[in-house]
């Protein structure tokens, strides 16, 4: 069976686990964080938080969704996870502007690892104190060509929409490459 990978990233508690849970057909493998100090980080036995879920595409193919550990101290895992991904979703908690700067840094880090297509999902849009996506775009300094999507990670249809937008971006990139080659 062919396997493909997408990465779901974002700051701590942004909603990554819920996002994967909403569309995964298997129980999301979610691990606990058990790192208590910076020094433990370099030990081989260090425990690292992770989530992953799966969507079977057909008899020959499965799509895996990998949720990255949110905290900066786990960033050594990001490069490993970004290898071979189709694209990535950056999830941001729309109610916690104090995490926007961190989200921006995570986005830039992933872009540096792999220049694959990505979308930004403004999660918790069903909450009363959620920021408007237009305001978030300004706060996050996202260009107008970057997809910033409203999202409620606990709702399957909302998550589907985000994944579809990411897939459309990947497809568009493929077609753009074809056009470049043709010219």
């Amino acid at each position: 069976m062919q396997t493909l990978k997408m990465v779901v990233t974002g700051p701590f508690n942004a909603g990554k686990t819920e996002f994967i849970q909403s569309v995964s057909e298997i129980d999301v493998v979610s691990t606990e964080r058990k790192i208590s100090s910076e020094i433990e980080r370099i030990k081989e036995t260090t425990t690292v938080a992770m989530d992953f879920g799966r969507i079977t595409i057909d008899n020959e193919m499965a799509l895996y969704l990998f949720g990255t550990p949110g905290q900066k101290r786990f960033d050594f895992m990001w490069e490993i996870l970004s290898e071979g991904m189709l694209g990535f979703v950056v999830i941001i908690d729309s109610t916690r502007p104090e995490t926007f700067r961190e989200a921006r840094k995570i986005l830039e880090t992933f872009r540096a690892y792999a220049p694959t297509p990505y979308v930004v999902a403004a999660n918790k849009q069903d909450c009363e104190d959620a920021w408007e996506v237009d305001d978030m775009r300004i706060a996050l300094r996202l260009n107008s060509d970057i997809k910033l999507l409203e999202c409620v990670a606990t709702k399957k249809n909302s998550v589907k929409d985000v994944l579809l937008e990411l897939l459309y971006s990947i497809l568009a990139e493929f077609e753009a490459v074809d056009l470049t080659l043709a010219n």
Partner: protein, 275 residues
């Protein structure tokens, strides 16, 4: 006269036992498939160790131990032109950056770590030459070998068990359809994380070990723990005979045929729409 052989026939534990009992002084050089290790002993005690081309300078070891920040590491590196580790050590102690004990502890942890990594090698040509000392400019330590020998013995037993559970590295692994009920409390190590992206029935364990830079022992450890956790299961290799195909990352699109890539994406889009 040099002691020569292969770790496959004479294990590192046996070698250390010999060096310890005979209170030997000299250098053990082990040539593995990807790397080489040099370990110096003084009167049967571990004195110094170096693996491959890794930065073994004092400043590099202190940085690796997180006792120096990256900026401090770069700053010192740029300013210690030609200075030996011994001179630098004295400078750091006199400037009250570190105590002598802190420096020795860091070196000891590093050298022991090199030796522990050597324990995971199951093959490798070794040669022990007596009366060869570590480079003059290096700071040496004195670590008793008894505990390391005990640890090596335990590891050898573990290896034996792992080889029974995973006899061949030419098999593949895949994610299970229904992970075990205990996965909510699962904790993955850094090595396990490294392996996860390569879980694909088409990739043999040997290939995964190569690409993740894990030894045969380490890959068996990782696979065994993932098997026990109920995340993966072993599968027969896709190509039982001949050379296995190149290792496959979970991305057939980026490097593959464009038309095929678009077809795959269309299939995924159709599937997600139907969720």
């Amino acid at each position: 006269m040099a002691i020569k052989g292969n770790l496959h026939d004479f294990t590192l534990t046996q070698l250390l036992n010999l060096i310890n009992l005979a209170q030997k002084t000299g250098t053990l050089v082990v040539e593995g498939s990807n790397d080489s290790v040099e370990v110096f002993f003084s009167n049967g005690k571990l004195a110094y160790a170096q693996i491959g081309q890794e930065d073994n300078s004092l400043v590099g070891i202190l940085h690796k131990a997180k006792l120096l920040s990256t900026n401090q590491y770069k700053g010192i590196k740029a300013n210690v032109n030609g200075m030996s580790d011994k001179e630098l050590g004295l400078l750091l102690i006199n400037a009250n950056y570190f105590s002598q004990q802190e420096i020795l502890n860091s070196l000891q942890i590093h050298f022991v770590d090199v030796l522990k990594r050597l324990f995971t090698w199951m093959e490798g040509f070794f040669q022990f030459e007596t009366d060869i000392s570590p480079p003059e400019d290096k700071i040496t330590v004195r670590v008793n070998l008894e505990n390391l020998i005990l640890e090596g013995s335990r590891q050898a037993q573990e290896l034996e068990h792992l080889e029974e559970e995973i006899p061949s590295l030419d098999i593949g692994v895949k994610f299970v359809d229904r992970p075990g009920a205990n996965i909510a409390n699962l904790k993955l190590s850094q090595s396990e994380w490294k392996v996860i992206p390569y879980v694909d029935p088409q990739n043999t364990l040997k290939q995964i070990a190569n690409v993740t830079d894990l030894s045969d022992f380490e890959i068996r450890q990782v696979i065994y723990s993932l098997l026990q956790a109920g995340i993966i299961e072993m599968v027969r290799p896709a190509t039982p005979e001949g050379e296995p195909p190149p290792i496959r990352l979970p991305d057939p699109i980026v490097n593959g045929n464009k038309e095929e890539g678009k077809s795959i994406l269309t299939r995924i889009i159709d599937r997600i729409r139907k969720l």
